[in-house]
């Protein structure tokens, strides 16, 4: 799979990686926000 990705042209792999980054950012952000809410909600 790694070899296949390396052969893709920059734009194609770029689109895949753009969505991968977007997914990761939203996961980290919403995960940390929800965690902070969870530890503080009973106060």
């Amino acid at each position: 799979m790694i070899e296949t990705l390396a052969l893709l042209e920059p734009n194609t792999i770029g689109v895949l990686r753009l969505f991968a980054a977007l997914g990761l950012i939203l996961t980290f952000f919403s995960g940390a926000l929800l965690f902070t809410y969870w530890i503080s909600k009973d106060e």
Binding site: I2, R17, A21, F29, T36, S40
Partner: protein, 462 residues
């Protein structure tokens, strides 16, 4: 000892850095904006004696204290990832910005200490409120200074100063440092304001007690004034920032405005449309609940909503049918099919300036009504959905704009290496190689050229 070139399978190392930095920025920007908004609210509580200001400031301060852990953890993980994945580049950065990084570290430390102290002495300084408010503003100041330091690094990466890196002042105050810093300073307030408004909207819908409904209704309104008020300053500051990029790094400017990364701005104008229309619609709705009936003001606000929709629509129209070739969004003859209403001059200028003027107008009307007071706790469900839509949209806007700035250095994916492009524009490639040709940090001393990025002599003929 040789330094290994570590690769991350499938996603690549750029995605690792992007996701860690961008997540960190989403927290860091919120913390800076929220601390200053909370300190201002505490001060307003002191002056007006209205209890919701104090309740809001204290709750927000507690949330910031708790959120600090996530923001700081992401920052440290990012630095670790940068040292591991881009060790050569990081060593150059450390050489160029040693003092800047050092000051930033101490500002960060100062911010942590003061934010924690601010929250912890809330009751202890209950009778010395003015002093306590100062704690909040000092915490905000430290945060702003930390941001200023890292902005010097980020702006240098896109527009390196035309001076040796040993020229500390010119390296620090490179061509886009001030506009970037202003853009982020204003952005922090807008971003934090919209998130607070969204949170207020969500809590309002979940609240059953009338007292809580009134409080969260007010919180949504208060957050939106910050969010929208600072948002309408952004087009003119953003224009100044882009002008700086165009003058210093014209190829990078072409890439993000007309080239393959231009789709970022198509996404941006759609996001701005959502935020401005949702905010204006909220204002129109809220004017119904003004304590002093204001029918004329409300009619004017409805007119402003119409103009907002018109100007945002004008901004959304693309300049040609080649919208995002990366995902096949090309219509008719692509670049050959020009759309007259999508041209930058005059239509985008009209759209952006119009949006700002209408924004100022509606905000003035709304603040006028705010001075007379509102009946809280009676807002409709959809008005709260509008606030929540703004909160989601502002997060996407931050991600889109961060991605735009970092993609600007990837002009035609050249020079090759790790996806192509530059880490420091025209000086250090994505493959961490120093280039001499076109690098503004190359200087001539005693008849020989030196690249001050790595301190090496430039070979003859380069």
């Amino acid at each position: 000892m040789p330094i290994g070139d570590l690769q991350i399978p499938i996603i690549g190392k750029n995605v690792v850095i992007a996701s860690l930095v961008q997540s960190h920025i989403l927290f860091a920007a919120f913390i800076i904006g929220a601390v200053l908004i909370a300190a201002t609210s505490e001060y307003l509580g002191l002056v007006t004696k209205q209890p919701h200001y104090e309740r809001f400031a204290r709750n927000l301060a507690r949330f910031v204290v708790l959120l600090f852990a996530s923001g700081a953890a992401l920052a440290i993980t990012f630095v670790l990832a940068l040292v591991t994945l881009f060790p050569v580049f990081f060593s150059y950065l450390q050489n160029i910005f040693f003092w800047v990084f050092l000051v930033e570290a101490f500002m960060f430390l100062g911010q942590i200490i003061i934010v924690y102290a601010w929250y912890n002495v809330w009751d202890k300084l209950a009778y010395r409120k003015s002093l306590h408010v100062v704690f909040g503003f000092i915490a905000g100041f430290f945060g702003l200074m930390a941001m200023t330091m890292i902005d010097a690094v980020a702006s240098y990466m896109l527009t390196p100063a035309e001076a040796p890196v040993t020229d500390v002042a010119r390296t620090f105050l490179n061509q886009t440092m001030v506009p970037l810093n202003m853009h982020r300073f204003v952005g922090n307030f807008s971003y934090a304001g919209f998130l607070i408004a969204g949170w207020g909207g969500w809590r309002y819908l979940r609240s059953t007690r009338q007292e809580d409904r009134e409080y969260y209704d007010w919180m949504g309104h208060f957050g939106l004034i910050w969010g929208f008020g600072f948002l309408i300053l952004q087009p003119v500051i953003g224009y100044g920032y882009l002008k700086g990029i165009r003058e210093s790094s014209p190829d990078a400017f072409e890439t993000i405005m007309l080239g393959e990364q231009a789709w970022h701005f198509n996404v941006l104008v759609i996001l701005i449309a959502v935020m401005t229309i949702a905010s204006t619609a909220y204002f129109v709705h809220k004017l119904r609940f003004a304590l002093t009936p204001m029918p004329v003001l409300r009619k004017l606000a409805i007119g402003a909503l119409g103009f907002t929709a018109l100007f945002t629509l004008l901004n959304i129209i693309p300049s040609d049918a080649d919208i995002a070739p990366q995902i096949g969004l090309v219509f008719l003859e692509g670049e050959g099919t020009k759309i007259p209403l999508g041209a930058m001059y005059p239509w985008k200028y009209i759209g952006l300036i119009g949006l700002m003027l209408v924004g100022f107008f509606i905000l003035t009307l709304y603040l006028r009504a705010t001075a007379g007071g509102f009946r809280w706790g009676q807002a409709s469900r959809w008005s709260q959905y509008a606030l929540m839509a703004c909160a989601v949209t502002v997060v996407l806007t931050m991600i889109d704009m961060g991605s735009t700035r970092e993609s600007a250095r990837r002009v035609d994916h050249k020079p090759a290496g790790n996806g192509g492009g530059y880490l420091i524009y025209n000086c250090v490639t994505m493959g961490q190689k120093v280039v001499n040709e076109g690098c503004p940090a190359v200087v001539e001393e005693n008849g020989e050229k030196i690249n001050t990025i790595n301190g090496q002599k430039v070979p003859e003929g380069e």
